[in-house]
């Protein structure tokens, strides 16, 4: 049997996804036994000429983690798409835009300006840019930052989404076994997660209690053994796909939705508003509306990991490269 060829690349991510793949620990040796790592900058040797010289579809499976934030990310995503039979958006940033996607709440110019105009930054107005040069006039070679943060599927066709921030290493190992056995489901599909929601895996039982108001996580000492929502804490569990095993609520912290929308739900925000509505201990619409309106930062809370692929996502051009600003 010929060995599989696998790849892994990090775009605008944090490195946590690379760590989650390394954290299959001793199973990494099993993976290496069944597959050649054709390309993984964090762990293996490869040369650009090798990747470029590969025939299209040379890699059996390529994982890309991180969001799309600059022209370099776009270029590499397209290259790897061409060279891979199966492309997996690995982790929340690649699948949905992730935390860096929150930048889409602001114009990119403000994002760059803020980075270089904090309280500690010299107020000389200098800004790095793709056109910047060294003292002799040669290009400094900075990539241009794109106007919008994108999920990978905005740039290229993606076969599978592996959600999570970071994906649970147990789910990663299961996926690797499925890949090696050649039993991947028909694409496109979400892998390494179920169709159920986080509540289905949560160890904190629901008792059917309703609430009079919603609170922020630091405002109460949550009681162990009771559903956080039923204590008034806004937890994204009901609207979020399961796969993590309910780790955050297990630590008495609310789910923030890193596995993306549960089941066939189109929009997590709409799903959450409907969940919160049914929790309010009143039949009076005004009372319910009033309680829900107390939820702070609904955009950032409901779409913390999914803004670029949500219905709130910023209006996009068909070709992301067109709206690049440098």
């Amino acid at each position: 049997m010929t060995k599989l060829k696998l790849g892994m690349y990090c775009a605008a991510g944090c490195g946590g996804c690379d760590i989650s793949l390394i954290d299959v620990h001793e199973h990494l040796l099993d993976i290496v036994a069944a597959a050649d790592i054709a390309f993984w900058p964090a762990a293996t040797d490869f040369k650009y000429s090798d990747v470029e010289a590969m025939p299209d579809g040379e890699m059996d499976v390529c994982f890309i983690n991180g969001a799309i934030r600059n022209t370099e990310n776009i270029e590499i995503a397209k290259l790897l798409r061409a060279k891979s039979k199966v492309l997996v958006a690995y982790g929340a940033c690649s699948a949905f835009g992730g935390v860096p996607g929150l930048a889409n709440l602001y114009p990119v110019r403000e994002v760059i300006d803020r980075a270089f105009s904090t309280q500690s930054t010299d107020p000389d107005g200098q800004r790095p840019s793709a056109s910047a040069t060294h003292h002799d006039g040669s290009s400094a070679g900075l990539p241009a930052i794109t106007g919008t943060v994108h999920a990978l599927s905005d740039i290229v066709n993606v076969d599978y989404l592996l959600p999570g921030c970071a994906p649970s290493s147990d789910r990663v190992w299961e996926l690797c076994q499925v890949i090696v056995s050649g039993e991947l489901p028909p694409s496109p599909a979400i892998v390494g997660a179920t169709k159920k929601c986080v509540c289905d895996d949560c160890r904190l039982p629901k008792q059917g209690t309703r609430v009079s108001k919603f609170v922020r996580s630091h405002e109460i000492i949550a009681e162990d053994g009771r559903c956080l929502l039923e204590q008034g804490v806004v937890c994204m569990g009901p609207a979020t796909r399961s796969g993590c095993g309910g780790q955050c609520p297990d630590a008495l912290m609310p789910c923030r939705g890193c596995y993306g929308p549960a089941g066939d739900s189109l929009d997590v925000g709409a799903a959450m508003v409907s969940v919160l509505g049914t929790l309010v201990d009143s039949e009076d619409e005004d009372v319910i509306r009033q309680a829900i309106s107390q939820v702070v930062d609904p955009a950032g809370t409901f779409y913390c990991f999914t803004l670029p692929t949500s219905i709130l996502g910023r209006a996009r051009t068909t070709d992301p490269a067109e709206e690049v600003r440098s």
């Binding site: 690379d18 989650s20 293996t44 860096p100 709440l105 980075a115 904090t118 060294h134 109460i220 630590a251």
Partner: protein
């Protein structure tokens, strides 16, 4: 002017790139370390509730999420002016030190250490973790993997998750530590101390007892006189979780000792157009660029900063090593860049001893782990010593605790000017006019920046830089003379005309 191109693959991996400029004689005139990434956290933190900062900012870096998690939680405590219960502080300190110890172990065995353990002029393909294992034996591999697993288990017990933990909240921690967990934590603490001691013994046998490696550590190529920065306790001992920032100058005299919330009086950041990373400096000395002629405004933090700007360690075994460190170098501060590696192991030993100490603290399992904030939120600074140096989070909120302004200065950013300086010094010493740029020279330059264990992911609030690296050399007319690229595994490629195809110039 000669056209050059940046090979796309080097941009693919190239989250750090060094450009060297040569004068007419072929000597290195200028060196630039270019960082090409930016995600812009400071802007999109605006509008978010401050209690979400520990979770959101942890996504700055998946390699050191605990550092951002802790700095953000402490800043949020300060925003609400809340004092956390003792048990919560013990648990936070335990988690933080376990993370420090594990992170330093990774650097020593996988990233920076191979240059010494396997040897700086060993074949590039052997200068990696596998080479380390071959040199010191397979038994050690099991121990390194165990160290990593134990570190993650602490994160899981105390933070709920292995990557991007969630346990620290404004006012304390989310959940008390069970008696059962405490038993595990004590076992882990004891193991970490044993592991750290063994690592120092390995360093001693392989590096300190080898005259050739000692000479390398002491050579001019790796020597820069700078200021040093450390987060210290009331006794001026390094304290990674909390304290005051102590700054000493190149002579070791205290310049200032400030509360982290006063950082704006002492620290400023310069901007250059050719890099997305800012360059911090000591405000009282002003910004004078990066050169050996005037480097007193340039700071070094991280393990070398901690050891140079403190007056001793908190724990007995680490203290003994601290004394041996300065005895060996014969003075303080130690300006040798490669001394970072030894200092890192001493910091790892203190962290391990503190894990052991906190795991045995009977307050750990108290159920009083949360103070619910009652004050009106306004402004707060949270500061920790991350594995790569001082880390500052600063938030200003409205009366409802919604962030209006955020400022983040991370360890590798504090170090950026010093890394530039060290790279330039090494390049000037090692690149001989007219001679070919060889692999040992290339690696020698890299060793200057690798000593800092830099993480450009954190620094740009972008990608982690476990980085492959490209060195390009330019002649006086700006033409590409040549270069070398190091891949992630340490293998090398010559950059020549064959690689140059249509570029920007």
């Amino acid at each position: 002017m000669t056209r050059i191109s940046i090979d796309p693959i080097t941009r693919l991996e190239g989250h750090g790139r060094i450009d060297l400029f040569l004068d007419h004689a072929g000597a290195v005139e200028e060196a630039f370390l270019v960082i090409p990434e930016l995600r812009g956290f400071e802007k999109f933190l605006e509008g978010r509730p401050v209690e979400e900062m520990p979770q959101i900012t942890s996504r700055i870096c998946g390699v050191c999420p605990e550092a951002h998690h802790a700095a953000a939680a402490k800043a949020a405590d300060a925003v609400y002016n809340v004092t956390i219960p003792e048990a919560a502080e013990v648990a936070r300190r335990l988690q933080y030190n376990a993370f420090m110890a594990g992170d330093h172990a990774t650097h020593f065995y996988a990233l920076g250490g191979p240059d010494f353990i396997v040897g700086p002029d060993a074949p590039a393909s052997e200068r990696n973790i596998i080479g380390v294992i071959n040199k010191v034996g397979p038994e050690l591999a099991g121990k390194v993997i165990r160290m990593r697993k134990e570190g993650h288990e602490v994160a899981e017990i105390l933070g709920g998750r292995r990557i991007h933990p969630v346990g620290m909240v404004p006012g304390g921690i989310s959940k008390p530590v069970s008696a059962e967990s405490a038993v595990r934590l004590r076992e882990i603490g004891a193991y970490m101390v044993e592991f750290a001691q063994e690592s120092l013994a390995i360093f001693d046998a392989i590096v300190l007892q080898d005259p050739r490696l000692r000479d390398l550590v002491l050579s001019h190529a790796y020597y820069n006189e700078t200021a040093y920065l450390a987060l210290v306790n009331d006794d001026n001992q390094p304290d990674a979780y909390d304290g005051h920032v102590r700054v000493v100058d190149a002579d070791g005299s205290e310049v200032v000792r400030y509360h982290p919330s006063d950082y704006l009086e002492h620290i400023a950041e310069a901007v250059v157009p050719w890099s997305y990373l800012k360059l911090p400096y000591l405000k009282s000395f002003g910004w004078h660029g990066v050169s050996d002629e005037n480097s007193r405004h340039i700071m070094r933090t991280g393990p070398l900063g901690s050891i140079n700007a403190s007056s001793g360690m908190q724990t007995p075994r680490a203290q003994a090593e601290y004394e041996r460190f300065f005895d060996t170098f014969g003075g303080k501060p130690v300006h040798h860049t490669l001394a970072f590696h030894w200092a890192r192991l001493i910091e790892m030993l203190q962290a391990a001893e503190l894990v052991d100490r906190h795991a045995n603290d009977e307050r750990l399992t108290s159920t009083d782990v949360r103070s619910v904030p009652t004050g009106t939120p306004h402004e707060g600074v949270g500061c920790v010593e991350a594995p790569r140096g001082l880390l500052t989070h600063h938030y200003i909120t409205d009366d409802n605790g919604i962030v209006e302004k955020a400022n983040l200065i991370v360890g590798t950013t504090y170090q950026y000017p010093a890394i530039q300086l060290s790279v330039a010094t090494a390049a000037r010493e090692l690149v001989k006019p007219g001679a070919e740029l060889t692999e040992p020279v290339m690696n020698g330059i890299e060793m200057a920046f690798r000593a800092y264990d830099p993480c450009f992911g954190c620094a740009t609030h972008a990608l982690p830089g476990s980085s492959p690296l490209e060195v390009r050399t330019f002649g006086p007319a700006g033409e590409l003379v040549g270069g070398l690229r190091r891949n992630a595994d340490g293998s090398l490629e010559q950059i020549d005309d064959a690689c140059a195809k249509g570029g920007t110039r």
